[in-house]
């Protein structure tokens, strides 16, 4: 569904991504793990069009995303849950979800998806009139995921959904992602929490200073000595 083919990207004179290639098949959860500054977020931003690649190709659903602007990429069915959640703090939970459905016009379908979002994260239903900014970090993350789903995407890009969130809620959020995937959603997940991400994902890629150094099934990477040493805190 998504092919990233030998992309290079960076900021000014700094080259962040050096020849990164990865692939996500339909119905898969693929995770990209790595330490701070490895280029995980940059990779995701290149896919979502918020950052431009210097060379290489990104193909989504058979279409090259080279000259497609970030807002049009959402119309193509690729929704992003941005790093740091980026919910609209002064809009209510319900309004945030309505914004998520901005590209759609089918009122009934939107209402139906709103119900699905509330079923996935019941706490959002309780909080639907509350302003987004008054939610806890975990609830905001749930809202960000639900909001991204409101555009009925074919694929979800998630940038560190566990960042700064109580561990119990992280488990809830990861369960929800697993549930979404069971219903057919394709997910590319960028995470620092390697253990959780690899347990969730079908396949994983390890990014180190802008290069993919390992790729394998999630369970295989969990037991890979290099991953265990570098990311899972074992000697």
């Amino acid at each position: 569904m998504l092919q990233i083919d030998r992309i290079h990207a960076g900021y000014g004179p700094i080259e962040v991504l050096k020849d990164v290639s990865l692939e996500v098949h339909e119905g898969e959860i693929v995770t990209l793990i790595g330490s701070n500054g490895a280029g995980k977020t940059t990779t995701l931003m290149c896919v979502s069009g918020l950052n431009r690649v210097r060379s290489g190709r990104i193909v989504f659903d058979g279409h090259d995303l080279q000259d497609v602007s970030a807002d049009r990429i959402v119309h193509r069915g690729l929704a992003q849950v941005p790093e740091g959640r980026k919910i609209f703090p002064r809009l209510s939970v319900r309004e945030n979800l309505e914004m998520g459905a901005f590209i759609r016009n089918d009122r009934d379908g939107i209402e139906e998806d709103m119900g699905r979002a509330f079923a996935l994260f019941p706490v959002l239903k309780q909080r639907q009139t509350q302003l987004g900014g008054t939610l806890s970090g975990g609830e905001q993350q749930m809202l960000a995921i639900a909001r991204a789903l409101m555009s009925r995407p074919k694929m979800l890009l998630m940038d560190e959904p566990s960042m700064g969130i109580a561990p119990l809620l992280v488990v809830k959020i990861f369960d929800a992602v697993r549930e979404l995937n069971r219903e057919g959603m394709t997910v590319l997940l960028v995470e620092q929490n390697a253990c959780l991400a690899l347990k969730l994902a079908h396949r994983g890629y390890v990014l180190e200073t802008g290069e993919i150094v390992l790729s394998d099934a999630g369970s295989a990477l969990l037991t890979h000595p290099r991953v265990r040493e570098a990311y899972l805190g074992e000697v």
């Binding site: 807002d71 959402v74 980026k86 609209f88 002064r90 809009l91 706490v123 909080r127 008054t134 806890s136």
Partner: protein, 382 residues
């Protein structure tokens, strides 16, 4: 029912209060000949309400600080003059020229916006500020078209079903301006509750998030800019017809722009009723209270034109400045704030509900005493 529709019902009320007051004033003037007689000056309030509502789309809804609305007002003034004056070949008459004026304004807005709207925050504010000065200088110096400091005159007065407007009776003007204010308010309300309005607000709240929703933020900012410019030009066109002349380009200077900004801030940024109240308060002080006070003091022999300090209307900028400082200190969200701005500036009240987790499954339960996830009873928090 959506939240958007709900909020609409509760926000409409102040508008009707304003409309009722506006309808009563000319009646008062008529039945109480010796009393106040403020109807004539009310026209200024209407003009600045339109200007404020134009700025509100750009600054209030979309969050772009715009310090050059006077430039678009001036463009409206001159567009109206050139399209309607006898000395130019167009001669569209009052209504034709008034209808085309916002179109010219919107085009000017697009022209300024297209290269500059990628700038953010303060940088954009500086560009708009500079644009305001440039427009004045251009109007002053392109004498073959604008007649320089002399201005273009005379301009046609409106004619409604054969009734010719004249300078001496203000009532027809009053209702014309009021009618246009009502139309502009209705337009603003519709924008606010539309998809476009939501796009404006999302750009103000978080541009990156707006992009992630599939919104082309540059395009949306451009639309906001053009709409704001169109309304400011409309105010300019009305102003020119009421004066019967463009006046001098220096009339549309930074003071006009900053007055419009004050109206939006004092009234309540992003709230349409707030902008109307802001126009009433700010222009009311400027052209009603201070003018009447000066006249009264002169009658009493307490002030004279010889002593500048004794004239209350010379104190207006100090009063505006003081009003802004006091507003920022005590009511930064404005007199009639929008729900969202208030929520942000007073986030200490109401308190954020504690994030209570279900002891059984760890799911957040909010204020409920039963966990929505597993059904376990949650003890009331201390």
């Amino acid at each position: 029912m959506s939240r958007w529709a709900q909020s609409r019902a509760s926000w409409l009320k102040p508008d009707f209060v304003f409309l009722a007051v506006a309808l009563v004033i000319p009646v008062l003037d008529l039945i109480l000949p010796g009393f106040l007689q403020i109807g004539s000056q009310m026209r200024q309030i209407f003009l600045f309400a339109i200007l404020g509502l134009g700025l509100n789309i750009v600054t209030g809804f979309t969050g772009l600080l715009h310090l050059g609305v006077a430039a678009f007002m001036a463009i409206g003034v001159y567009a109206f003059a050139i399209l309607s004056s006898e000395i130019y070949p167009f001669r569209f008459g009052f209504w034709g020229a008034l209808a085309l004026t916002p179109v010219v304004g919107a085009l000017a807005g697009l022209l300024l916006g297209a290269p500059t709207l990628r700038l953010r925050g303060d940088y954009l504010a500086i560009v708009t500020l500079g644009f305001g000065e440039i427009v004045q200088d251009v109007l002053r110096n392109v004498e073959t078209v604008t007649k320089g400091t002399q201005g273009i005159n005379p301009l046609p007065y409106p004619n409604v079903f054969g009734y010719e407007f004249v300078t001496e009776t203000y009532q027809p003007w009053y209702f014309l301006f009021l009618g246009i204010v009502v139309l502009v308010v209705a337009l603003n309300r519709n924008i606010e509750n539309s998809r476009l309005g939501r796009a404006f607000i999302s750009v103000r709240e978080d541009e990156l998030a707006a992009t992630c929703m599939g919104i082309n933020t540059v395009k949306i900012k451009l639309v906001a800019f053009a709409l704001g410019a169109a309304l400011c030009s409309l105010a300019g066109g009305l102003w020119a017809s009421y004066l019967g002349s463009t006046g001098e380009p220096g009339n549309y200077d930074f003071q006009v722009s900053i007055l419009a900004v004050c109206i939006v801030i004092v009234g309540g940024m992003g709230n349409i009723s707030g902008v109307l109240l802001g126009a009433l308060v700010m222009i009311g002080i400027d052209s009603l209270v201070l003018v009447q006070l000066t006249r009264y003091l002169q009658q009493q022999g307490l002030s004279s034109t010889a002593n500048v300090m004794s004239m209350p209307n010379n104190w207006k900028y100090m009063i505006f400045g003081l009003a802004l400082v006091l507003m920022m200190r005590f009511k930064p969200e404005g007199l009639l704030p929008s729900r969202r701005v208030k929520a942000e500036l007073h986030h200490d009240e109401p308190p954020k509900p504690a994030d209570r987790l279900c002891p059984n499954c760890g799911y957040p339960t909010g204020t409920s005493t039963v966990c929505t996830e597993c059904g376990a009873t949650v003890a009331a928090s201390s």
